[in-house]
């Protein structure tokens, strides 16, 4: 039972040359006439749903190890300062305190691209909240008490607070980049605050601007914001000098394993990361955060050490989405054809590199939007500052760049007197057109998304801007985006058939609200014909889970899914062989259809693997255990480092559009969202309800981004580091209608045509809302969030 529609020539996978990819393994669904397995497109409830809503799930902080010590951290009260002296004597005197560590005692640094981040501040602190000392004690009370007894003498340094400060480079956040081990993925510029630069050159922008009839230029800004997951960071470490075991809600356990091994000098296999359930991550649990602190304390005390961040610590010392400034210039002809776009991007990535350069890279590729633009120039700078650490945040910079290009699209449309939807449709990428990265695009569904999103808010039903009978200002806005998935990357999975015929699926893809624990079993079931109820995902542990690069970039259903189907097909082969042995017939005569195994020439020989009867055949047989793999190195065409032109920079592009209708109170400036129409090209909805939920949740997150959220720094101090002053939307702020349309423009490689939808739901929300507010007010707003005072004091 293989759902093959179109075959391609056999290919040798360069990563695993010993494995011959069977041409039938490549899935391709060019049209909808193909019958899909019934489990595909079925809205099964989330497997983890009931446990979570009834409070039975155990998250990071819920775990405890016998004999564990409790850790607490002293955070820097300065944004940028030399540490003159740390006095830990009073803390050490407390009975029950087992270790007090400072940067003096632990010279370890860690990092993913650049090994720049000290476990505890070394010589100087670089952001308000940076860990300066750590305590392990018999109880949490004692640990916290000890932290309060530590005295630090700082000598303040000038604070690098804005991208302008960073560019000026009068003050360097890091004096000497070459002090750090460089692992790759970034190229810090000596003597500057630049960790990395990304340049994309396509065509000739000067020529493009000469061909333009109108050119608009804007300076735009997006605030630094926080992931603010319900679950704060937590970790336990059991470690000595040879072995290290970490228990944490890690998003990408294999990355954490590598970071820890590299930082502390462990052999990779001696580091084990056991994952707990994740109570929300959105990118902030991709970084090693508490893990290195726990390992340092555990090595010192020879006891397991547990550390959980409190909410105020989460704000001060967890992670963030970088603030960003754009200088963007776009040209179009009178007819509304885009001719050129030039974008300078300045990321305020905070004190250490973390995944900042990757944000710059991904966003750089996406910064022109899903448009055909013959000439483009992008220069993106990832800049360090004395602020919280900017990293992956649901989309790797996509909302921000979408805010920039979508503000431009509206500005141009307004200038040319063209309807903003029409303007976008005129320029939307089409199959066969070359993107700004130089790739010939395929499977592009953006026009349909734009039309559907607009339709959902009644785009053509009336004016786009009007005043209600009560004197409120109404406006509609639209925005779209394009996003790549990290390429190249690899993954592997294992399917184990248990003695009772149930199947355990081992995959490093972490369930973090995106539904992977439900969708991967659906994909396995689609091949195996085993009831999806009988397939469960095993907990994730680097000690036994097969390698997966990371749970980010909306990649798991696509990559994990292909690996799962690969494994499932292997399992089918093994099941056929098993029954051939039992029935004593050649394996070629065995058929497999929806879990029913038959011998072609023996009507008696038939068994359904979903029945208990089947399990007798498993007894004392070599176990049925299958491995599946997927990697994208072979399709990846490494971009030219100077221009980032590439035939294939990513395996998968995601696109979508959203439209918003808002109402602005002219007396208070407050904006109310009336409705949002969202249309995303998911390629193929394996679980449509889950896709809708992804988008609905993301839209609410986007509302926070559009109207509320910002990390406010005053002289380097994060002043709104609490849940009252840092405002995420509550359920009472979800008082608007969200209409979701799932567009299916199948991907030629993804499982059944799948594309990613974990991050995209949020990408166009804030830009669409900002455009709607701008239209309602007849004034173009140039930063997000758009707050009431911006509305009241617009020019």
């Amino acid at each position: 039972m293989d759902y093959i529609v179109k075959t391609r020539p056999a290919k040798i996978d360069p990563l695993f040359p010993e494995i011959n990819i069977d041409p039938g393994d490549v899935f391709d669904f060019p049209d909808d006439s193909v019958e899909l397995p019934a489990i595909i497109g079925k809205s099964l409830p989330r497997k983890d749903g009931q446990e979570k809503v009834t409070g039975r799930t155990k998250f990071g902080a819920d775990h405890n190890i016998p004999g564990q010590l409790y850790a607490a951290v002293l955070h820097s009260t300065e944004a940028h300062a030399v540490i003159r002296k740390i006095d830990t004597s009073e803390a050490k005197k407390i009975k029950g305190v087992r270790a007090v560590l400072t940067g003096e005692d632990c010279k370890v640094r860690f990092g993913h691209m650049l090994v720049d981040q000290p476990v505890l501040a070394q010589e100087k602190v670089r952001y308000w909240g940076e860990p300066v000392a750590a305590v392990a004690a018999d109880t949490l009370h004692l640990a916290k008490l000890a932290v309060r007894k530590i005295k630090v003498d700082y000598e303040p340094l000038p604070v690098v607070e804005t991208v302008e400060d960073a560019l000026r480079a009068d003050t360097l956040v890091h004096e000497n980049w070459s002090d750090y081990q460089l692992l790759g993925g970034c190229a810090p510029v000596p003597g500057t605050n630049i960790v990395d630069e990304f340049v994309l050159v396509h065509g000739d922008v000067e020529k493009g601007f000469r061909e333009a009839d109108v050119v608009v230029e804007n300076e735009l800004f997006c605030s630094m914001i926080q992931h603010a997951p319900l679950e704060t960071h937590a970790a336990i470490a059991i470690a000595d000098h040879d072995n290290c075991h970490i228990i944490s809600p890690a998003q990408s356990p294999f990355m954490i394993r590598k970071i820890i091994a590299n930082a502390f000098g462990y052999r990779l296999d001696r580091v084990r990361v056991t994952c707990t359930d994740i109570g929300g991550a959105f990118g902030c649990k991709v970084e090693a955060r508490l893990e290195p602190l726990c390992v340092a304390l555990a090595r010192r005390t020879k006891r397991p050490v547990k550390l959980v961040f409190e909410r105020h610590e989460e704000f001060a010392a967890a992670l963030a989405r970088a603030g960003v400034k754009f200088r963007i210039k776009t040209g179009a002809t009178k007819e509304g054809k885009l001719t050129a776009q030039q974008i300078y991007i300045y990321w305020d990535t905070g004190a250490y590199a973390t995944f900042g350069p990757r944000v710059n890279y991904n966003a750089g590729f996406a910064s022109n939007g899903p448009y055909y633009i013959p000439n483009s120039f992008v220069d993106g700078f990832c800049l360090v500052s004395n602020k919280s650490l900017g990293t992956a945040y649901r989309g790797f910079g996509i909302t921000e760049v979408a805010f920039a290009h979508e503000t431009q699209m509206d500005a141009l449309a307004n200038k040319l007197g063209i309807d903003p939807l029409e303007f976008r449709l005129k320029n939307a990428l089409r199959n066969g057109q070359e993107s700004v990265a130089g790739e010939v695009m395929q499977d592009v569904g953006i026009s349909e998304c734009l039309e559907k999103a607009a339709e959902a808010v009644g785009w053509y039903d009336g004016p786009l801007q009007w005043r209600t009978a009560e004197g409120k200002l109404r406006g509609k806005g639209i925005a779209c985006f394009i996003k790549l998935t990290g390429t190249p990357s690899t993954t592997s999975v294992m399917l184990r058939m248990n003695e009772d015929g149930t199947v355990t699926l081992l995959s490093g893809s972490r369930e973090m609200g995106q539904g992977v624990e439900t969708v991967l079993p659906q994909l396995a079931s689609s091949v195996l014909g085993i009831d999806v109820e009988r397939i469960i995902m095993s907990p994730v542990d680097t000690a036994f889970t097969p390698y997966d690069k990371t749970t980010t970039s909306s990649r798991s259903t696509f990559h994990g899914g292909l690996a799962v189907m690969d494994a499932a097909r292997d399992m089918v082969r093994q099941l056929k062989a098993l029954m051939a042995r039992h029935w004593d017939c050649p394996v070629e005569e065995i058929t497999y259809d929806k879990g029913v195994i038959r011998c072609l020439f023996d009507p008696e020989a038939s068994v359904d693997i979903n029945t208990s009867f089947f399990t007798r055949y498993l007894k004392e047989e070599p176990p049925i255990i299958a491995v599946g793999r997927y990697g994208t190195k072979d399709i990846f065409s490494p971009p030219d480092p100077d221009t980032h032109q590439s035939d294939r920079p990513t395996i998968m592009w995601m696109m979508g559009a959203q439209a918003a209708e808002v109402e602005v109170d002219p007396d208070t400036g407050r904006t109310k969202i009336i409705r949002i129409g969202a249309a995303h090209d998911v390629g193929r909805a394996i679980n449509p309800d889950n896709c809708r939920q992804q988008i609905q949740g993301a839209v609410l997150m986007g509302v926070g981004n559009a109207l509320l959220e910002e990390m406010i720094y005053v002289n380097g101090v994060l002043v709104n580091a609490n849940m009252v002053d840092y405002k995420i939307p509550t359920s009472m702020d979800a008082d608007f209608e969200t209409m979701v349309d799932l567009v299916e423009c199948p991907h030629n490689t993804g499982p059944y045509g799948v594309k990613g939808i974990g991050e995209p739901g949020m990408a166009p929300t804030a830009p669409a809302i900002a455009n709607a507010i701008s239209r309602a007010c007849g004034h173009q707003f140039k930063s997000i969030p758009v707050k009431a005072e911006h509305v009241l004091f617009r020019e």
Partner: protein
């Protein structure tokens, strides 16, 4: 994490006051302010004196002149009580907008006032109803108009060893109504960036017999806008009068620029929300 503390649970007001006099203990009502500060590392009290066992602080007693409401009465009471909804509407509106249902179940009116926050949602509405604080010490009781209760940011007229026993609310006259408008950035779990409370009473000829206006988060403490009130009394209610009074209220308010919002923004809100509160209070009569 909550730092360690000693919890005392006196059974009577006298006992509670005596402990407060003899120790550095803090009174604990619903804990929705105290525990947040303690969790956040801003407050480390050694002793907390729980008021939970003192039933007298829960008393609600009607008299001919008005109502005495015990300090431990939770916001939820004001949210659902019919008398509050109909006669003391602004108080109902203030308390019904505090935090979330959980917070309104735990948080008390006494805690809201004694915490001394300039943004307290019950403060402005209570001010326009001329509420009076009944304060008790170890061996005495005194009353103080709420107008005199606030001394500065986070500073109240309570002396060491004193607690707030109840709030006295005079009965509003028949042709009167009130309105509380709270401006927040989000729809729930938010403190007032500005709060405007208005109370209007009309005479037989339809003129304004009494007008009271209170502003929250428009200065270091909740305040009454006396000048604006005087501009209203004795005149026929109309939009232009409300607009004039609002402009005066804007002058009377004392907001500062902070990272939470600029002074100019709050002033604009004072103007537009005062106008609106007056208009809507009037429409309710």
């Amino acid at each position: 994490m909550l730092p360690a503390f000693k919890l005392l649970e006196p059974n009577t007001i006298e006992e509670a006051c005596r402990i407060a006099l003899d120790t550095d203990g803090m009174f604990l009502a619903g804990a929705t302010d105290i525990f947040v500060a303690m969790h956040g590392g801003a407050l480390f009290p050694e002793t907390l004196i729980s008021l939970a066992k003192i039933d007298a602080l829960r008393d609600i007693r009607k008299t001919d002149q008005g109502i005495f409401i015990g300090a431990l009465t939770p916001h939820r009471y004001f949210e659902f009580n019919q008398v509050m909804k109909t006669r003391y509407t602004a108080i109902h509106e203030g308390c019904a907008q505090v935090g979330s249902p959980q917070i309104r179940n735990r948080g008390t009116i006494g805690g809201n006032l004694c915490n001394g926050a300039p943004s307290a949602d019950s403060a402005g509405p209570l001010l326009v109803f001329d509420a009076v604080c009944v304060i008790v010490g170890a061996a005495y009781e005194r009353t103080l108009p709420l107008r005199e209760f606030y001394l500065g940011p986070k500073k109240t007229a309570l002396r060491k060893g004193e607690l707030l026993k109840s709030i006295y609310l005079p009965e509003p006259v028949s042709r009167s109504a009130s309105r509380y408008i709270k401006f927040t950035r989000r729809n729930a779990m938010d403190l007032a960036l500005l709060g405007v409370s208005a109370y209007l009473a009309l005479d037989d000829s339809g003129g304004i017999a009494d007008a009271r206006l209170a502003l929250t988060t428009a200065g270091p403490t909740p305040i009454r806008a006396g000048e604006a009130e005087r501009r209203l009394i004795g005149h026929k209610p109309c939009d232009s009068l409300f607009s004039e009074a609002a402009a005066i209220a804007e002058n009377e308010s004392l907001p500062r620029t902070s990272w939470r919002s600029s002074k100019e923004f709050r002033l604009k809100l004072v103007k537009s929300l005062t106008e609106k509160a007056l208009r809507e209070a009037f429409e309710r009569i």
